[in-house]
Symmetry: C2
Subunit: 225 residues, 2 copies
């Protein structure tokens, strides 16, 4: 994928933070170091205290930006889904064939991120590793219903909707477009995780685009294109 626009800014739902972390040096440092720290020690072991030590600020200062570590994870994954949606829209622009659009879309949704291209203080490669390992924890919680009502998952929902629309353009009679696409998005991340931690649950070989191939095959055979 070619280099994208340098001056684009991704906006994240205001309900996710108390003060916009993109508006100050400290805020951007909180985001950048949350990404590396969660990647290093995992979300369970991640605390505001440890983050504060790393950025040399007290935890109370971090609490002025985010009300909990759960909200930071939601912020990061929302940013990630927005960024994927942006890459997706970009990658299918000016393509006329719906089949080709769908194929490109599946590639964006399933291929591991290997380049940190576009945003100053956010390391997209590390962030995408967090998405693989931790994003599931944003909505497998007791607060999911309240947060869904607040609209905290709309980016994810619109990503699914966008690709479902392409599926429906190819086969308007297909009954399960949302199931299919959410299965692809979740499934791709699971398979990447399995290939690293529970290899007998997958068939992925090293450095090959197996996951992408597999989901392309699933999607196109299932919708009958």
């Amino acid at each position: 994928m070619e280099k994208l626009l340098q001056h684009i800014k991704i906006n994240v739902n205001e309900k996710l933070y108390l003060k916009d972390p993109d508006s100050s040096e400290l805020g951007r440092s909180i985001i950048a170091n949350s990404i590396t720290l969660i990647d290093e020690i995992g979300f369970e072991a991640f605390t505001f205290k440890k983050l504060g030590q790393r950025i040399d600020s007290p935890e109370s200062s971090i609490y002025r930006y985010f009300e909990s570590k759960h909200k930071i994870l939601l912020y990061l994954t929302t940013w990630y889904w927005s960024w994927l949606e942006y890459k997706l829209v970009f990658s299918i622009a000016n393509i006329n064939s719906n089949e080709e659009k769908l194929e490109k879309a599946i590639e964006v949704l399933t291929e591991p991120v290997k380049e940190d291209s576009d945003f100053l203080y956010i390391d997209e490669i590390t962030l995408s590793r967090i998405a693989v390992q931790e994003s599931i924890k944003t909505y497998y919680t007791k607060e999911v219903d309240a947060e869904q009502r607040e609209g905290l998952f709309v980016v994810y929902e619109s990503l699914v909707q966008r690709v479902s629309d392409i599926v429906l353009a190819i086969n308007p009679k297909f009954e399960y477009p949302h199931m299919l696409i959410s299965t692809v998005i979740e499934g791709a991340r699971h398979q990447q995780y399995f290939s690293e931690h529970l290899p007998s649950l997958t068939d992925k070989k090293k450095n090959v685009k197996d996951v992408s191939q597999f989901f392309k095959r699933i999607v196109f055979s299932t919708i009958g294109a």
Copy 2:
């Protein structure tokens, strides 16, 4: 499904507990009440203290059976996967057609459990709800590699292997049997969860076997049977 054998006992890997909970009244009470308590308040809010209050025993007594609440969840989900595997083997016994076997297998893996039939003190309906909501948390942890090496996920792995073998019997050239079946197992639970909490990610209607239908379609179109 007909009523199964009353005197069958499901054995869970010894490494999951310090003392076999099936061997005492207190132990069985720990299991039975863990299931209802996790179902009521969710795994994050579940503590040994609250469980102790419910069964009127100190938390230190619970610690003599399980070293952590994570191990209880692993115990419960392992029991659940063993039980599903048992139902699976039962449901395909004496069927000759591999296609029919695969269809039955997908039904067992994807249809919600609606009957508590076979085991004295374990409520399978509630346990299957826990499997939908919490089972993902057993392996999305920093300890996953160590626990995989200890063999704590073998039941899950053998369930995937068993169904993958049926897939390969139908199409020996299919390259992704494990990916396909782990996608079905995980996907079915996700779709059940989405239908309750994030409905725009699914197309499931109430009380209909949509999830099962969808995954049958995926599997059979993908392997080309």
